[in-house]
């Protein structure tokens, strides 16, 4: 049962070209940017609202399908689609939080509720779009910029830049705006924060809306970059969870950097040795960092 001859990849002493290395670093960074984008909303709601939101993934995929529908069928440009999706998803996020607030859902019960919602969304998606694969082709699907010998795919670059911009914006917002500080205070000590006049309820709705809007934005990029099928919701779960936790809950810059770390370590492994070892490397690095580095989150 071991297959004929077993897997013999090219000997690892065969030094790969600098171009190959450089290209994989680029590829890893860009993939990591998308992980970071997906992780952003999840990290915020987990860190600041104490809610583990599995629906986040389903919302992202819903955003992707909506982008596809608007773009492929109704020929609306993805940027216009984004303009429609972002506010709509903000409202969805607010609505979702209304449910949580009304029932006072605790952290691990939220896992179950959001799982159920994710399954419902998956069913809705499959109902409307069937289980078959959908691909949103655009004129610039395969476009890339040249940087010397390296190619930087344009769409992935845009996703990565958006991720970085949103991460920094969120960080600044949390750090310097009143709302941001209020949210952080509430997360740390709700009673005292309330005593200082922080209206946690309102802030929580705002944050939930923002989180969902981020999911929508991630969805637009997923539609442009990847192929869609309803079960894709679950494909990102493991890696995005890892990114959220390595980056630290409610740490937007951390999420971005963690995304880069995992993306690059995976792609370098794929470039240098048998690609199938990639998850081992990234998760082993993760384990080593968490166990050895002192004073981590």
């Amino acid at each position: 049962m071991g297959g004929l001859g077993g897997a013999r990849s090219p000997p690892s002493w065969l030094v790969p070209s600098a171009t190959l290395l450089g290209q994989s670093v680029v590829s890893g960074l860009l993939a990591g940017g998308l992980y970071g984008l997906l992780a952003l909303g999840l990290s915020l709601s987990w860190g600041l609202l104490r809610l583990v939101n599995l629906t986040h993934f389903a919302l992202a995929l819903l955003g992707a399908y909506l982008t596809y529908q608007l773009g492929h069928v109704l020929h609306v440009s993805p940027w216009l689609a984004a303009a429609a999706i972002v506010p709509a998803f903000f409202v969805l996020g607010v609505g979702l939080h209304a449910v949580f607030a009304y029932f006072r859902v605790a952290e691990f019960a939220s896992l179950l509720v959001t799982f159920g919602l994710a399954v419902i969304l998956e069913s809705v998606i499959q109902w409307f779009w069937t289980a078959d694969y959908r691909r949103y082709e655009t004129a610039y699907s395969t476009a890339s910029l040249r940087l010397g010998p390296l190619f930087v795919p344009t769409l992935e670059l845009l996703a990565c830049l958006t991720a970085a911009a949103l991460a920094f914006a969120t960080w600044a917002w949390l750090r310097w705006s009143y709302v941001g500080k209020a949210l952080r205070a509430s997360a740390e000590d709700p009673a005292i924060a309330a005593a200082f006049g922080v209206n946690h309820r309102a802030q929580a709705f705002l944050l939930s809306g923002v989180s969902a809007a981020y999911a929508g934005i991630a969805g637009v990029y997923i539609a442009l970059i990847a192929t869609l099928a309803p079960s894709q919701i679950w494909a990102w779960l493991g890696v995005v969870f890892a990114v959220v936790i390595i980056g630290g809950l409610a740490n937007p810059i951390g999420a971005l950097l963690a995304g880069f770390l995992i993306g690059v370590s995976e792609s370098l492994t794929m470039a240098l040795v048998t690609p199938a070892w990639a998850p081992l490397v990234s998760f082993s690095i993760l384990i080593v960092i968490l166990v050895l580095r002192p004073g981590r989150v």
Binding site: G2, R104, A109, V113, L249
Partner: protein
Amino acid sequence: MSGHARRVAASLAVAALGLGALAGVGLPAFYESFLYLIFSWIALATSWAILSGYAGYFSFGHGAFFGAGMYTTATLAAVFGVPFLWTLLAAGAVAAALAAGVGAVIFRVKRLRGELFGLLTLAITFVLATIVLNTPIDGGPGVYLSGVPMPRLLASPTGTLYLLGLVLAVATVAAAHTIAHSRLGRGLYAIHDDEDVAEVEGVPTLRYKLVAFTVSAGIAGVAGGIHAMYVSYVTVGETFAITVPLYVVLMSVLGGARHWLGPAVGAVVIASSLYAFTGGQHAVLGRAVVALALILVILFLPEGVVPTVLRHWRSRARRSETAVAVRDPAAAVSAPSLVPADPLVCHDVWKAFGGIQALRGVSLSVAPGEILGLVGPNGSGKTTLINVISGHYAADRGRVALGSTSLTGRPAHEIAGRGMSRTYQIPRPFGHFTARENVALAATFGAARCSPGEARQEAQGWLEFTGLGSRATAFPHELNLHERKFLELARALAARPRVILLDEVLSGLNPSEITSAIGLIRAIHARGVAILFVEHLIRAVLELSDRVIVLNEGEVIASGSPQEVMRSDQVIEVYLGKPHVVA
């Protein structure tokens, strides 16, 4: 075990026997395999909860142990021809060993709790999956078990699997029940509420977590081994999918992760619902309906099905609760604590946190039966000293000893076992335990080492002693500050300590409460227990202490009788500043 729990356990045993008999009768194979799947999930969810539900260490790595078991059986049976039933033992052993190894590393690191633990266990699943996929264990093509002979426990293979599944499920639920009602269980529940306090109360937290993790993983491994025969073609993609780690969490949360029967109930509900809508025309709609039902259940029953149901039954039963036999509090009070007490000695203790030197060579001693007052301005290191003595922190330098027994560097639970108790300035009771259960825990794990039955009586006695006898079944959030402080005292006493460390026990109390607290401390002192008590309230210090020690910026600046110390110039200067205007 209460009569109620006994009844439940008995009825479950009957149900299990009934199910076993069913196998002998011979159901249509589908029911056997459907029930097998339910049994398998019961075993997986219940075993997961042993660590993650009871102790609160949410693991997302249950799939790794399940997979380790599956591949152990697959490899041993298909490649090496080991008889199937023996492979199950190996499967459990391999999974347990894996957990023991992982736990030995992770549990020692204090900050790897909560989400980090969840992530690490998830990461281990991916690592294991990749290793299996890329090595000859699987290598890619999967392992095919169709040629492996099935033991003929029952007439049909499906029946045999049904029986194996049933045995495993029953054994797991029985194990969960036993653990939940044992000292191990009490300790795990305490760890859930407040691990550091549990350790200080005498719960050997590292050992208990390891045991729970290992048992949990071993069961998952056996479940995996049986499942390998069920699917008969083992591939990495199927085995290490996100399904197992995710579903066991959902099932336990739905049913009630803290209760021994909760995960089983959740498993039955969720696993059956997987089949509810497999009809071809309704598949997609069916999934949505099932998901909606789950959401509604958890929204309206947030603690889980079983605890909510039990609470309803209990609230009716509470009124008719019989009084608990109490050991005569006077007897408790006058009974001598332990064999001749030894002095507590700190010698040249240093402790720094990063750049802050909290303790600089502090030396003191508390004679047997003495009350030593420890005073000093805020930030002088009083609480740090208590934390070092009780073992919460390890001293950088210096020695702490109780008589001839060195306490330096020992884990806090061992120090507690040697007769040290402490209270916290802001009370830290175990939130999910009643007042009596809080106190009983200390009686079980402290120097007294009572059996669970004795502990309950002990606890009631100490509650009476501190005036909380009527609040024995109340939960901490139902008590006011004064009551919680006295609960801390009762808990500290129940361990039958030789030395009690009181950390600002009077802060936040009103004058009449302070008077009664001082009376209580006197009563404790009358038992012959040595007391080291930190206090800001000078009146209390003067009234109670035999001797007083003053700390300032981590150093002892004065030591002696209360009157002497309070009049010392240096002490006055530290508290009030240097007088610039001579009176």
